[in-house]
Symmetry: C2
Subunit: 151 residues, 2 copies
């Protein structure tokens, strides 16, 4: 390693990192989401996983989706709620969320403050699936999930 390598240390300020671009959440135009950004903190060919930081502004939400790959999440900033499978959970800073394979999930900044979270994923992974109208109806048949999805 060369002395003075800028990549060994990236300083943080207000949940932004030196040399890390703030990106749109997704390129997929079909996906429904609101007020969420993405920063890729680690994506190194020597590592088999990536670490990303997503931040949802108050009232915003991530895409409701499922996929074969798993998500390992740590809440880095604020509070909110998540849906994982049939469970709606209140989230606090530093809480952990594990999203199993093929499980519907969504994160929402429900508490009038930003909800920021780290998400570890395998670098090689399948594309997310979006819910069909039938999937949505099935989820909404549970009143707790319906209330969560309406915000």
């Amino acid at each position: 390693m060369s002395s003075g390598d800028p990549h060994i240390h990236r300083k943080a300020k207000d949940f932004r990192w030196e040399g890390v671009e703030v990106l749109p959440y997704k390129e997929d135009d079909r996906a429904l989401f609101k007020a969420i950004t993405r920063q890729v903190l680690f994506s190194d060919p020597e590592q088999q996983s990536e670490l990303r930081y997503f931040e949802v502004a108050p009232g915003g939400f991530s895409t409701l989706e499922r996929h074969e790959h798993t998500h390992s999440v740590l809440i880095l900033r604020g509070r909110g709620h998540c849906l994982v499978g049939n469970e709606v959970r209140p989230l606090g800073t530093n809480d952990l969320v594990a999203v199993p394979p093929m499980t519907w999930h969504q994160f929402r900044a429900t508490q009038g403050e930003p909800l920021g979270f780290l998400c570890m994923v395998n670098s090689m992974r399948d594309k997310p699936q979006l819910p069909t109208d039938a999937d949505l109806a099935a989820l909404q048949s549970d009143p707790k999930i319906g209330a969560f999805l309406r915000g």
Copy 2:
């Protein structure tokens, strides 16, 4: 996924997590370290990497070591310093540190407060190497590194 699965959500309190054991830092008796604990936050056969949380008490330090695998680190709590290769860096909360292959590194809680950090690693990885007396002498020949290693 079964409804009510306790593993999807683990609440955090004071940098401890529900259902996550606080472990000794290492089993290797040869390694020199001080006042540091380990919690394995995610170690899932579906994920190709693990996410661990290490916490160094004030005045403590991790083992000075190197290995082929890389570390992707995010400071979750407090401040301190690290050595990576020939660089000694001050660390603040949320800063990122990338440890390249075969690069000497150590984390120290130098600021009278705990230094807690997340570390993402490949699940399949090589064993750390400890410095020989010659390695230590070479590192200490740099006054900045010598001062860092003396605490």
